[in-house]
């Protein structure tokens, strides 16, 4: 087990290094950093000066090592546009994204498993066919369309929920939260539902498939035969065993969550990291893009390793060699 964990972490570090190499290439060759840093009207001497002070005249390997060294110290350079350290710019946006993503995952998970269980119990009831049809719509509907339709219905026609922004926020220590004010909660409903949509359908389908398999097992029949109340059989005996793969797959789809948070934040003008990334792409603000990619890679890889380890603990049947 210990060797498995170490190997997974080593693999993670290799992937991170590969990502850092790609980021370095983006930073160095997509657009001329010298020109961007010195300004369009810089003289030859000024350009030379910038080149030397940023070490851009050094050999490639040295430049790359310096890039990694700086990154390890949280120094990803300064945004070309706002002249603020890129990491600060992104960290400032972190709370908004984390709050949106966790709310969405919470909704998706609770609703998804609940509906999945209901559908699996009576697959042929009309109500459940409707739910399944809805889930087919859920996986066939791109996130951006869900968002826009929700804005149209609740923001424009019914006018009951705010269609954009984060609303009123409160500073709690270093964290700026929108979940403590009524206005903030009203603002998070639509984007969270949008982001939850896709995951919800996936979790529903996974739960249903898992339950259908588990419900035919001997130990469930035993549980029924013992005369246990249905609630206990379904939630304690059956669902528990179904949840392991569901949680694993949800965890492994974290990259998907990040990707769709970019889309959701853009539609709802949610002041999060994804929104910042898209703006930076249009402005060719490489330091911010690079920082975002490195941070996203770090988070995604860490979560993957964590999920693998937890899975290994939960399921002793897996062999590692």
């Amino acid at each position: 087990m210990a060797s498995y964990i170490i190997r997974r972490i080593l693999q993670g570090i290799i992937v991170l290094l590969a990502v850092s190499m790609i980021c370095f290439i983006i930073f160095r060759y997509m657009g001329d950093p010298v020109l961007t840093l010195a300004g369009k009207y810089a003289t030859f001497e000024q350009i030379q000066e910038v080149r030397e002070s940023f070490g851009l005249d050094k050999p490639m390997l040295e430049q790359y090592l310096r890039f990694v060294w700086n990154a390890l110290h949280g120094n990803f350079g300064v945004s070309y546009v706002s002249r603020v350290p890129a990491l600060d710019l992104i960290l400032e946006r972190l709370p908004a994204t984390v709050e949106l993503a966790t709310t969405a995952i919470g909704i998706a998970f609770i609703l998804g498993t609940f509906l999945g269980v209901i559908v699996s119990l009576k697959p042929f009831a009309i109500r459940n066919k409707v739910i399944m049809a809805g889930s087919l719509g859920g996986i066939s509907m791109p996130t951006f369309l869900t968002g826009i339709l929700l804005i149209m219905i609740f923001g424009v026609y019914l006018g009951v929920l705010p269609p954009y922004g984060r609303g009123e926020t409160v500073q709690v220590g270093f964290w700026r939260t929108g979940l403590l004010t009524l206005d903030g909660i009203r603002h998070i409903i639509l984007p969270a539902l949008t982001l939850a949509g896709f995951q919800l359908a996936v979790i529903l389908r996974l739960t249903r498939a898992g339950m259908r398999e588990v419900l035919t097992q001997e130990y469930i029949k035993t549980a029924w035969a013992k005369g246990l109340p249905p609630k206990k059989v379904i939630f304690k005996h059956a669902l528990r065993n179904v949840l392991i793969p569901v949680i694993t797959i949800t965890g492994l789809q974290f990259g998907e969550l990040i990707a769709f948070s970019i889309v959701t934040e853009t539609i709802f003008q949610w002041p999060g990291m994804g929104n910042l990334l898209l703006t930076s792409m249009f402005e060719s603000d490489q330091p911010v893009i690079v920082t975002y990619i490195m941070l996203a890679a770090l988070v995604i890889i860490s979560i993957n390793i964590l999920v693998d380890i937890i899975y290994a603990f939960l399921n002793p049947k897996i062999r590692y060699d």
């Binding site: 693999q11 992937v15 590969a18 983006i26 997509m30 697959p123 042929f124 087919l136 719509g137 996986i139 066939s140 509907m141 791109p142 996130t143 951006f144 369309l145 826009i148 339709l149 804005i151 149209m152 424009v156 492994l252 789809q253 974290f254 990259g255 998907e256 990040i258 990707a259 769709f260 970019i262 889309v263 853009t266 539609i267 898209l278 792409m281 249009f282 893009i289 990619i293 996203a296 890679a297 995604i300 890889i301 993957n304």
Partner: protein, 296 residues
Amino acid sequence: MTKRRIKSKTLSSFLYDPPAVIGSLILLIFFFAALLAPWISPQNPYDLGKVNLDFFLTPPVWMEGGHFPFLLGTDDQGRCILSTIIYGLRTSLIVGFGVVLIAGTFGVLMGLLAGYYGKVLDAVVMRLADTFFAFSTTLMAFLLMGIFNQRGLLTVILAICLADWVRYARTMRGSVLEVKEETYITAAKATGAKDFRLLLKHLLPNALPPILVVVAVDLGVVIMLEATLSFLGVGVPVTEPSLGMMISNGKDYIYAGMWWMIVFPGATLVMLVVGINLFADWLREELNPRLERKES
């Protein structure tokens, strides 16, 4: 004889599955509409000489202020919505089938080689696949489009292919590992068949069926991905028709109540993907011998 029976069995199971038939019908209609776009669409929305700015933001024909021949209304530049949808379907299907074909071929080959030869190639392909999956196809394609300087239909196809091929490689590898153990492969080896022949004549055709399901599911995913990229402004350029871009244009007008610029392209996109998924669901159950069909 046996082959024929299997075929007709498949056909009858298909015909007795109404969702699958509906899905395929939608697909067929959309496919031919896209193919015949220049002849059946009322207007060529990308021919500047034909587009008339006088008719911009016209509502659908049954509403007050609607004009014939703009059945579903026009957008902010006077382009007929119906025509733009038909041309947009073309882009969706070209990107969808293009990616499935290119990424599929490459992924299947890599999976075949990785599964058959194992060792270093296998390790590299599988680690790549793990990493790509962790990042998700959507995020990869999005970041790649951010890196590429030039944007065009080909760039979009290329970016999605780069992000997507591992899906095929992984499935193919798993399938090859299973087929490899079959007696007929050992037999072929014993008769002295060369690697090349073994791979292409024996392994490839027998390991391919699971890939069909991946193709069907992936087609829908890729079409949604193209729409998403174009919606965000990092997909096809503005000169190309795209359902995603139509919706992106329309979103500025929802506060003015001009719903037709979003609802019609959105509905088309969803119908297309639902059609594909209905077909994919049928195919999955048809090819999965473990799942007993028709439980009732």
